[in-house]
Amino acid sequence: MSEGTLYDKVWDRHRVTQLPTGQDQLFVGLHLVHEVTSPQAFGMLKERGQEIAFPERTHATVDHIVPTGNRDRPYRDEAAESMMAELEANVRGSGIDFSDPDSGDQGIVHVIGPEQGLTQPGMTIVCGDSHTSTHGAFGALAFGIGTSQIRDVLATGCVAMEKQKVRKIEVTGELGEGVTAKDVILTIIGELGTDGGVGYVYEYAGEAIEDLGMEGRMSICNMSIEGGARAGYVNPDETTYEWLRWTDAFEDDSEGFERLKPYWESIRTDDDAEYDDVVTIDGSAIEPTVTWGTTPGQTAGITGPIPDPEDLPEEDRDTAWRAQKHMRVEPGDTMEGYDIDVAFLGSCTNARLKDLREAAAFVEGRKVDDDVRAMVVPGSQRVRDAAEAEGLDAVFKEAGFDWREPGCSMCLGMNDDQLEGDEASASSSNRNFVGRQGSKNGRTVLMSPIMVAAAAVTGEVTDVREMEEVATV
């Protein structure tokens, strides 16, 4: 068993008691709520005549179904309207803060928590959404839960869980030019597999991780679940504190900041901590990485070959055959040159200001390929506003991108933003599952925001490093 890790410490601080099942009852420090997975939980609570235990530790937003175009109410999509109305009815008068579209604070739940300073080190954070692992970037213990567990949290402020093992993933060295956090996590999942993390929490460490800003750390922790790990985290450090200092939580409360800092420091993993497993990855060897298949673990470096399923471990072959048939790719080829129809820059993995800045810097002076429909969906209204203040929207629009309102959008196709037919998309999102982006014949290639920008411009999967020289026209 692990000892002295951040996971052990945060777990112990939040452990209420042991339940008869052998699970621990954990206090939840922050419960984030969105419209898709919560209505049934509120319903069950009502049915049982129970109250919300800690409304002030709960925060809601709307992201999955919200339109990214015309947002006039009622929404044109009746189902979306009814879900929004249900959420409004559930949170109104409950004491739960709601970052709704009129507040100017609306956005993807995993973008708004960190930007408002709701997400802090040493917290337990849950949400009915598997990408809750994102918040681990701040040294929080954050994981996705199902709707019955949402009911648990609403009613008791707690979740029932078993403690897991801790795997340290040390990414050494410096990342190369054109290589981002997204490439790091795609490489990690490619190496450890989509179920390699089942039963584990991932601690990301090493020079390449420490050098990342908070946005990059969030991209990495976000996709922990794609590797099977329900939670992933990075130990908090000065980079973390610098971000927190200027969020809503602390910008006018330096006293509160100083008061909490010792706690944040105290939950950092000890130097002599024990892990259940340690994996080392050479960060300097990572290249821009993309998926070739239909799971986030089916990845290849942009110059690396798509594997022959016959060369894979026996249990991976069948999935690989099916994936290659769906994607229409051949073993031995690289993904470079794979034709794309859609470029999607958005999602809780990669739609923060830094992602948009980097993509815009690449796009400036270039044009989206005539055969590509390209869109940027900022992660939140604040990201949108900040990007617009810098003129990023103008850069994207000038190049031919559609500049849209914040939401989950084409990451999972629950609003109008969907692939059609067998369109192929270059996507900065997190899942390339069959049907994920709204069309069961659609094809998704996951990649970093700058790689999406490059693909949008050339109309095919492109090694962004090859284009660097003409980047500043």
Binding site: R15, T21, I145, Q149, L260, T319, L412, R431, G438
Partner: protein, 218 residues
């Protein structure tokens, strides 16, 4: 046993000690929750009626014609034991996935391995997720295909799957087994009983102000 119902907040949940019935095999590793229930069917505010959308995009083509899929095959009608392969239920946390399967009529899922959130969501519904070795699972899938009317008996407490003359040595995760066998899988009721200790924990955390703890407001 019959499908478990939600208990109310007061009563303990139903004990799920065994599941018996006929099987239905869905083969393939890494079957994700988007395949189990596509996101477009989640634009609902209740779980009612989700059963019919189980594996929808695997079962119907673009013109809504039925494709080859066990869930379309009449020989498995009435089956309540789903037999799957590795990493079943990976992907999103949507409880809609096990809800859809349960409402289709599935009372237990047997497989090589399960994604964690999916298994937790199944437990919250009183649906056991039972694991066994790859060879045993594949043999069971073959058997079910050849004998769709054959009875399968899952003993949750003893961790066995019995069919024909075979006894599979299976695994039901410790906490899950305890919760099901003792009927304590309704964690809302279980945890609600510890209200005092919850407050104490909240008070001990430096980031939780007193005014966020109902009853503790100054």
């Amino acid at each position: 046993m019959s499908s478990p119902e939600f208990s109310d907040g007061e009563a303990p949940a139903e004990k799920v000690t065994e599941v018996s019935g006929t099987g239905i095999p869905v083969r393939g590793n890494d079957i994700d929750t988007d395949q189990i229930i596509p996101a477009r069917f989640m634009k609902v505010v209740t779980f009612d009626g989700l059963g019919q959308f189980s594996f929808f995009d695997q079962r119907f083509d673009d013109e809504d014609n039925e494709k080859d899929h066990p869930f379309n095959d009449g020989k498995y009608r009435g089956a309540n034991v789903l037999v799957v392969n590795a990493n079943f239920g990976c992907g999103s946390s949507r409880e809609h996935a096990p809800q859809a399967l349960m409402r289709w009529g599935i009372d237990a899922v047997v497989g090589e391995s399960f994604a964690e959130i999916f298994a937790g969501n199944c437990l919250a519904l009183g649906v056991p997720t039972v694991t066994a070795d790859q060879d045993d699972i594949e043999a069971l899938q073959d058997h079910v295909e050849a004998n769709p009317d054959a009875e399968i008996d899952i003993d949750v407490a003893a961790e066995t799957i019995i069919y024909d003359d075979a006894v599979i040595d299976a695994t039901v995760h410790d906490a899950q087994r305890k919760a099901l066998v003792e009927g304590v899988w309704d964690t809302t009721a279980l945890m609600g009983a510890n209200e005092g200790a919850v407050r104490e924990t909240a008070r001990s955390l430096p980031y939780v102000p007193a005014e966020h703890i109902p009853g503790d407001e100054a």
